[in-house]
């Protein structure tokens, strides 16, 4: 059913595009990543081409899609166990180690494909689309659709299949209803409601989301599913000239013992001259409070996005300064309070031409083996160019 739905949607979009004026744009993104560990130096390259198509055939009706073509080079086979502490990996039988291998293969796929019916009062979007929730920068507790990379939190996220209705009901008051189908089974599919309003200089929203949550036991590779009901809220505004924001949620699971909550608060300020500073604190009650407690499931569920963090408490800091009109330098730091490890991420953005951006980013892990930001995870960096057309 799902396949038929997507096939029909894609066919519709393509047919419409044939008869309507199509806006074509996108970017090409070569990227080189180098990682150095005690034993090895890994090189990993990718070439990504994203082509966006957008067409408005009738007033208020828009069709959009983007296709991504990804080619990988260099170290395309990785085994996660190579980067984990011995006390965690040693009990794993040799014949099971291959199960932890990740292979990056060339791929070509539709990242987003949707139809959107919208005016100034409401918007109905059907198809694979961008969904972003929450006000946090390096992590979003209320956003179960995306898992941000804390080292590169603003990088684009994949599309998600959903039927979404946004309605603007009154001045700074709106509602969002969203259905995220799972094999078109109403019971197992996700249902989300969000109300958003403005209060003075603040934007505030509350949301509820019910969906099927999957947990994998990486010792046995058995997956269990249970209903997860998320009740959350977020805000963004300003106090005494400082930007402030926050978001949090409580998660009711079928098994009450698995209930957990997450929240994040943040603040930022821009100094005269353009120096920008940001600070965020994130708490995840399902995380571990001390690193000797980390086990294989903690690590793997983090790597696969089943959980947002390994440790319970972390802070994030960011400083950016516009060195010239086109060069931005900065450093972010993520500190795990729970295990006292830290990752430093110096970065440089250079808008070298009108439609060309270069990014240079390093990651330096400072932590003992077994901690979230252990140096055994590998230090290194990446160079990325984005050429827009």
């Amino acid at each position: 059913m799902k396949r038929i739905y997507f096939t029909a949607l894609i066919s519709l979009v393509l047919c419409i595009c044939l008869y309507a004026e199509v806006d074509i744009y996108g970017y090409f993104e070569p990227q080189y990543t180098g990682i150095y560990t005690d034993e090895n130096y890994y090189q990993f390259q990718s070439n990504k081409l994203r082509v966006d198509l957008k067409s408005t055939i009738v007033n208020n009706v828009e069709f959009g899609a983007d296709v991504i073509y990804l080619l990988y080079f260099g170290a395309t086979n990785w085994n996660i166990l190579d980067f984990l502490p011995d006390q965690i990996t040693s009990p794993i039988p040799l014949d099971q180690r291959a199960l932890f291998q990740i292979t990056y293969g060339d791929s070509f796929y539709l990242d987003n494909v949707y139809a959107r019916l919208a005016n100034y009062r409401f918007a109905l979007t059907v198809g694979k689309q961008q969904i972003s929730l929450g006000t946090g920068y390096f992590s979003n507790p209320t956003d179960v659709f995306n898992t941000k990379d804390a080292l590169d939190p603003t990088y684009e996220q994949p599309g998600h299949n959903a039927i979404r209705l946004d309605a603007y009901l009154a001045d700074r008051f709106g509602i969002m209803l969203m259905y995220t189908p799972v094999e078109w089974d109403w019971q197992n599919s996700g249902k989300l409601v969000r109300l958003k309003t403005g209060l003075g200089h603040f934007d505030i929203s509350v949301l509820g989301y019910e969906f099927q949550h999957t947990t994998t036991d990486f010792y046995t590779f058995i997956q269990t599913q249970q209903r997860r009901r998320l009740l959350g809220a977020d805000f963004v505004g300003e106090i005494l000239g400082f930007g402030v924001w926050g978001e949090g949620c409580y998660n009711f699971m079928d098994d009450d013992d698995d209930n957990f909550f997450e929240f994040l608060i943040g603040t930022d300020y821009t100094f005269e001259g353009g120096l920008y500073t940001m600070f965020e604190y994130h708490h995840n009650s399902s995380g571990e409070s001390d690193y000797p407690e980390y086990d294989l499931n903690d690590w793997m569920q983090f790597f696969t996005g089943e959980t947002k963090t390994i440790s319970q408490d972390q802070v994030y800091g960011l400083i950016q300064y516009p060195l010239t009109d086109f060069i931005m330098v900065g450093t972010s730091a993520i500190f795990s309070i729970s295990d006292q490890s830290i990752a430093l991420v110096p970065m440089v953005y250079y808008s070298i031409f009108e439609n060309v951006e270069l990014t240079l980013m390093f990651n330096l892990y400072i932590g003992e083996e077994g901690k979230v930001f252990s140096s055994s995870l590998g230090n290194g960096g990446l160079m990325r160019a984005q050429i827009y057309f």
Binding site: Q130, R172, H201, T270, E272
Partner: protein, 278 residues
């Protein structure tokens, strides 16, 4: 000089060369509102006080509604140029404004919404479909690396609300008789400039030049804004070109109106989160 639509009056364009509008420029850029001065001859008002001049200038420079497209060119110290084009909408005399980038591809579709005299700012990023609310300190940030900050682009009533004004000796700028005013930031204000000097055309009450002084040092000359190529559009005197010179970085950014009309009826719903994404 671009061709402008909706010309209603074939009055000879008033070309202004010298230094002019400073504080006013801030509002001009973001909303287009600053660019538009209602043609109200001010003959016989040479004895106006500084407050009256600023009040009248602010009122005449903020048209009820406007819609246009603009071209912004950034010139760096090395002479390198960057060009951006965007569409602007403003309503309620600049209280609400929205700008949407049209060029280059890197920023196409990015939208900035400013309400309440730019005290509430939202940005929309089409690639991620994310709307982000900015705190007012973000007004100090440069707009796409230009010499204009968010603050320069918004805050239509800033001259009245954030500054105390004093009238200095009148001066001529490029042959035009001007009022010269000094605006000093009020102690409780969070405006990004400590002091402004404004030259206002006596006849049309259009700012011709504005000198901006540093946030921390009232003697440190930071920026200069010059408005020129004024034309009468839909009965409103409109500076078709504005150039901001950054005296500290030795860079400058020009903004040219390529199309403008004041005879529009923009819906309130345009100036909302959903309007940004439309």
């Amino acid at each position: 000089m671009k061709i402008i639509k909706h010309k209603q009056v074939n009055q000879k364009p008033l070309v202004i060369w010298g230094n002019c509008c400073g504080g006013i420029v801030s509002k001009i850029i973001s909303c287009s509102a600053l660019f538009f001065v209602i043609a109200i001859p001010m003959c016989g008002q040479t004895e106006m006080t500084a407050e009256e001049i600023i009040q009248t200038m602010t009122e005449t420079m903020n048209p009820k509604q406007s819609q246009g497209t603009m071209k912004m060119t950034i010139v760096t110290t090395s002479g390198e140029e960057r060009t951006f084009e965007y569409e602007t909408f403003s309503k309620d005399k600049g209280d609400k404004s929205l700008m949407k980038y049209l060029y280059p591809s890197r920023v196409k579709g990015q939208t900035i919404l400013m309400l309440n005299d730019a005290n509430d700012i939202w940005t929309f990023f089409p690639k991620t479909k994310r709307v982000r609310k900015l705190a007012t300190h973000a007004k100090k940030q440069k707009l796409e690396g230009s010499d204009f900050s968010y603050e320069d682009m918004g805050a239509s009533n800033e001259f009245i609300e954030e500054y105390n004004s004093v009238r200095l000796n009148d001066e001529k700028k490029e042959g035009r008789a001007c009022y010269k005013l000094e605006l000093t930031r009020k102690p409780e204000s969070s405006a990004g400039y400590s002091r402004l000097v404004v030259w206002v055309d006596k006849e049309y009450l259009v700012p011709l030049m504005i000198d901006y002084y540093h946030d921390d040092d009232p003697e440190l000359w930071e920026k200069q804004l010059i408005l020129s190529e004024i034309q009468l559009i839909d009965g409103i005197y409109t500076p078709m070109k504005v150039v901001m010179y950054n005296k500290l970085d030795a860079t400058h950014t020009s903004m040219e109106i390529t199309d403008i009309t004041y005879e529009v009826d923009l819906p309130d719903d345009l100036f909302t989160e959903m309007g940004m994404q439309k």
